[in-house]
Amino acid sequence: MSAAHDHAHDEPTTGPKVLAVADRHPRVRTIQVERPEPEDASFVAATTKGLGITLKHFARNLFLPLKKLTERAKPGAPDEDKWRAEIETVQYPEEKVKYPERFRGLHRLTLRDDGAVRCVACMCCPTVCPAHCITIVPAETDDKGIEKRPAVFEIDELRCVVCGLCVEACPCDAIRMDTGEHAKPVEDRANAIETKESMMARGVRSIATQGGEGPNWRDGKK
């Protein structure tokens, strides 16, 4: 009992002034501290000041023009911002906040130069996925350089935890989460499953070299 208890008996160095301490129980003690009355017990001065602050904000926001979202106050904003309303409300969905570049949104599947899906069904992403939300059914292709492609590539957005590990794991830049879109609201759970087609529809061509750098990558040219 001891260390913690002894420690509790250390006199506080800051805080209100202790008037009396009563130990009625080894673990409970009552400390009577000084509670000074507010300086202005009539509240009048403090009330007036507070009313002034709220009135100032109200008048400013009522009469001064609203800032455009793109011009919203930044630290060190120019002086004319003094004559703008301070309202921070974003009028979603007419206005939208720009997401940071690294925001992880809905998945997309990147495309080859011929428009086919880039994924080679290596199964890295469903393996690493902590939420087990990726379903890939591989199929063979005629292209001997690729060998496999996904016949089915589905992501259950209801299970996805948006961790981004699938993107990290992908060896050929086939899956990305850089769309900046949210998962859409759905009325049926089945509709929350992103299919290969829907993710390819959001897809772009990857700038990574098709099929890797090839056997001569050491030469520094394609």
Partner: protein, 399 residues
């Protein structure tokens, strides 16, 4: 035509006019204005979306949406409530406030036969029974000597609404809220009555129509802002306004409601029954504003607008008529219209001020309210009466 004037002068007509033209629209709009105003104070936009097609009106239609929602919501009555009192309580909360409005003078007396001309104020002062002043319409339903006493008596009844709602709800939190409502009433009611006593001493009347129509001193025109009681009774105004905000049970005195802790005496109410409590609160705001405007800010008086037109630098002649000075004569209809508008504007500004107070100050604890009511407001109100009485006796010849 005589019948029309008689109908217009019928008390119920005036009351309905006041309630449906000023009070109800204002109280409904206040539900929206409060949310917008508080949002603006907190650097938000507030509700601005409710619309009928492209008509948005900055979100004013939110009160229509709210009303529709509350009307069509399920009217749920929990098991074990005292059904009769549970049903009665919202009505008890709103009825007294609506009744109390009958003492409020919301406009000047209208003389229909002189409507298109400048009012003959000399004739009115010397020969008021003349036929040209017949069929006059007094814009106050209930003009009696005990007007403000009537208001105190009736509005106190509104507290039974809250108390009975808490009692009938079969809910510990509601009961706590109801009890707090009663105990809060104890704390401010005495101080509120006494705060107005100084005004009674100065004007010599308890009749709000008389106070608004005559002002503090008979040597100044009642339309002179210096003759309004805010200058003569500043302490009384401050005390009365504080106590009156406590009467509306809104922050900083929303102890009976206490959202973060007990939710309040109406915790078991839903739909329009709850809506009535809500509306009653806003009607009380309008009423308090109307009383303060009438007693302390000249009621329907427009600054420097006498019954026959604008006048600056005049004096009161022995007939009690404001005369000479620089004046601009106006027809009777324009004067009355301006005075109606002045009353509306005063009430709206005072409502806005109450909203400002409500969104600025944090809630008092129950014991702090008791301290404030009994140890600060009451002694100050008594001192105000003493000082006012002494000044009246020594300098005004006991008027």
């Amino acid at each position: 035509m005589k019948t029309v004037y008689a109908i217009l002068d019928f008390p119920a007509t005036k009351w309905l006019f006041l309630i449906f033209v000023l009070v109800m629209p204002l109280a409904s709009l206040l539900t929206w204005a409060e949310r917008r105003q508080s949002a603006m104070m907190q650097d938000r936009l507030g509700p601005n979306r409710a619309n009928i097609g492209p008509i948005k009106l900055k979100g004013i239609l939110h009160f229509v949406a709210d009303a529709l929602k509350m009307i069509f919501k399920e009217d749920f009555i929990p098991a074990n409530v005292h059904k009769w009192l549970f049903t009665l309580a919202p009505l008890l909360a709103i009825a007294p406030v609506l009744i109390a409005f009958c003492i409020i003078p919301f406009g000047p007396t209208i003389y229909p036969h002189q409507y298109t001309q400048v009012l003959d104020v000399y004739g009115l002062a010397t020969d008021p029974t003349n036929v040209s002043f017949a069929d006059s319409i007094r814009m106050q339903m209930f003009s009696v000597d005990f007007g403000l006493i009537f208001y105190f008596a009736v509005l106190t009844l509104a507290n039974y609404g809250g108390t009975l709602a808490g009692w009938a709800s079969y809910n510990k939190w509601a009961l706590l809220g109801g009890l707090r409502s009663s105990s809060q009433m104890m704390s401010y009611e005495v101080a509120m009555g006494l705060a107005l006593m100084g005004a009674f001493l100065v004007t010599g009347s308890l009749e709000p129509g008389h106070i608004a129509g005559h002002g503090a001193s008979s040597s100044m025109s009642p339309s002179n802002p210096l003759n309004w009681l805010w200058l003569w009774q500043p302490v009384g105004l401050l005390l009365f306004f504080t106590a009156a905000i406590a009467e509306t049970k809104r922050a900083p005195f929303d102890i009976p409601e206490g959202e973060p802790e007990i939710i309040g005496y109406f915790v078991e109410y839903s739909g329009m029954r709850w809506g009535i409590f809500f509306l009653a609160e806003f009607i009380e705001i309008v009423f308090i504003s109307a009383v303060v405007a009438t007693v302390f800010f000249g009621g329907y008086q427009v600054p420097f607008l006498d019954p026959d037109g604008f006048r600056i630098g005049g004096y009161i002649d022995p007939n009690g008529v404001s005369t000479s000075g620089h004046f601009l004569l106006l027809p009777h209809w324009l004067v009355t219209a301006l005075q109606f508008a002045a009353f509306g504007i005063k009430v709206i500004l005072l409502c806005a001020f109450q909203l400002l107070v409500r969104w600025t100050l944090p809630r008092f604890r129950a014991d702090q309210l008791m301290n404030l009511g009994w140890k600060l407001l009451l002694p100050l109100a008594l001192a105000n009466i003493m000082v006012t009485a002494l000044i009246m006796l020594l300098f005004m010849g006991g008027n």
